[in-house]
Amino acid sequence: MAYPAKLRVWRGDTTSGELQDFEVEANEGEVVLDLIHRLQATQTPDLAVRWNCKAGKCGSCSAEVNGRPRLLCMTRMSIFDEDEVITVTPMRTFPVIRDLVTDVSYNYEKAREIPSFTPPEGLEPGEYRMQQVDVERSQEFRKCIECFLCQDTCHVIRDHEENKQSFAGPRYLMRVAELEMHPLDVADRVGDAQDVHGLGYCNITKCCTEVCPEGIHITDNALIPMKERVADRRYDPIVWLGNKIFKRDGA
């Protein structure tokens, strides 16, 4: 059954902006992105919104709906009351470009700070052999669609712009964990996780896990295991002594 939905959309650019109210037809089974597209088609042809797959797999349409970081294409209209005002704003953590589109280049910079996969010396592509049981832990992290909702919701940078210098955010700390847990990666990533990527800033409040549209257990499976590995290296004299005595590098 169609009904006129009440949308409040942030419109503006780098100089100024405001929330504007619209009434847009909503039909059964639609998602917020459908209404944004209908708004664009019928009332605001110059409304900027980034989108692509409409299937929750490309990670393009990240925004905030009623203050919660979400994919517009995965937010069903049926979760709202028909007379509820639905506020759609761009991701707060990143600089706005226009309307609902933000500049997420911070994330690409942080990605470039992480050394890529480093196989053992002499092992050429095509010669990689590993057990499934050894790679499945890091395979969970490869489900990431890089929507950056976890980065957007993380209070370390959401509320503190100054921390962007020293904190890579949950998405890229998860990338560090993915490589650190990879059975063939030989790079030393534990020290960098703390010193370069700012793992110590994370206070494991799990908002990244809550907003992840892929359901990746970022905190429990990536961030906390990395914190424990840092503790092995920096804060656990018994592990340190054991490594020295048995001349091991972490099994």
């Binding site: 902006g17 990143f94 933000t102 059975p183 206070n203 409040t205």
Partner: protein, 272 residues
């Protein structure tokens, strides 16, 4: 305003964000979970503090029920029968709890627990109070410096908590033999339930998960530890539930022993 959007945030002194005026635009009752968490934690802390210093009604002599808040009781100040490991320590002044050897470590274990950290960082320190709700602090350094960097000692509290849970288990087993020999009462069920959940909470700890196998890079070379890690990981997904359940069962166990010991209620006996 600041530099144009698209400029690198690490180069830019103040990137232009959209619409940052309100603390949050969330329209749900985001304040409810932190409020309930604060009330829950405060209730436990007040109850546990009062009971730890009371020094009365912690040992039901007839059925040999000992409350976990007084275990191990190693002082001459402990009532007769409650010291399962003797009394190597003399009289203790009233301002020192009789279980002073276990309580600080249990407190440390829970304070540095990854779940409780989330709980109190959100609800008490409000960093952040809820997801996508602005925190009130001007600066934030997380766990990068003192005192919060000390959270990294969690594993040591875990090791001690293992020993204390063993002691609690021993107490619960001894409680099957009261003054009249072997018997089972409701108190035994309560003590046993508490101990089972304490094991679940302790073994589901993230440090336990790391120690058993999480730190390995090659599970295939360590099949036994991989198996252990798998089991601990299953428990670990319920760590939050166990954290709250054990707060409840600790209070319930203590309250039951208190009521039986003071004569307010009689223990419901099933056998003997």
């Amino acid at each position: 305003m600041a530099s144009p959007a698209g400029t690198s945030p690490t180069d830019s002194p103040a990137p232009v964000r959209a619409n940052t005026a309100p603390r949050t635009r969330r329209t749900d009752r985001w304040w409810l979970p932190p409020l309930l968490t604060t009330l829950g934690l405060a209730t436990f802390v007040i109850y546990a503090t009062v009971r730890s210093f009371m020094r009365t009604d912690y040992w039901a002599a007839e059925h040999h029920y000992l409350t976990p808040f007084y275990s191990p009781c190693l002082s001459d100040s402990c009532v007769a029968g409650s010291s399962h490991f003797g009394t190597p320590i003399g009289e203790l002044p009233v301002f020192i709890p009789l279980a002073f050897l276990s309580l600080p470590f249990l407190l440390g274990f829970r304070l540095t627990c990854y779940y409780y950290r989330k709980a109190y960082y959100r609800s008490i320190w409000m960093a952040p109070p809820a997801c996508a709700v602005g925190e009130p602090h001007e600066r934030y350094t997380g766990e990068t410096r003192l005192p919060l960097i000390l959270q990294n000692v969690h594993r040591y509290f875990f090791y001690v908590a293992l020993v204390i849970t063993l002691i609690n288990t021993y107490d619960a087993i001894l409680a099957f033999g009261g003054e009249n020999g072997f018997g089972i009462g409701l108190g035994n069920v309560v003590l046993l339930l508490n101990v089972v959940l304490l094991w679940c909470y302790t073994l589901s700890c993230h440090s336990c998960r790391h120690v058993t196998g999480g730190r390995l890079k090659h599970f295939s070379r360590n099949p036994v530890r991989y198996r252990l890690w798998t089991q601990v990981s299953k428990l670990n997904t319920r760590h939050m539930e166990f954290a709250w359940l054990t707060l409840g069962t600790l209070v319930l166990t203590d309250l039951y022993v208190w009521l039986v010991s003071s004569g307010a209620i009689a223990d419901l006996r099933f056998i003997n």
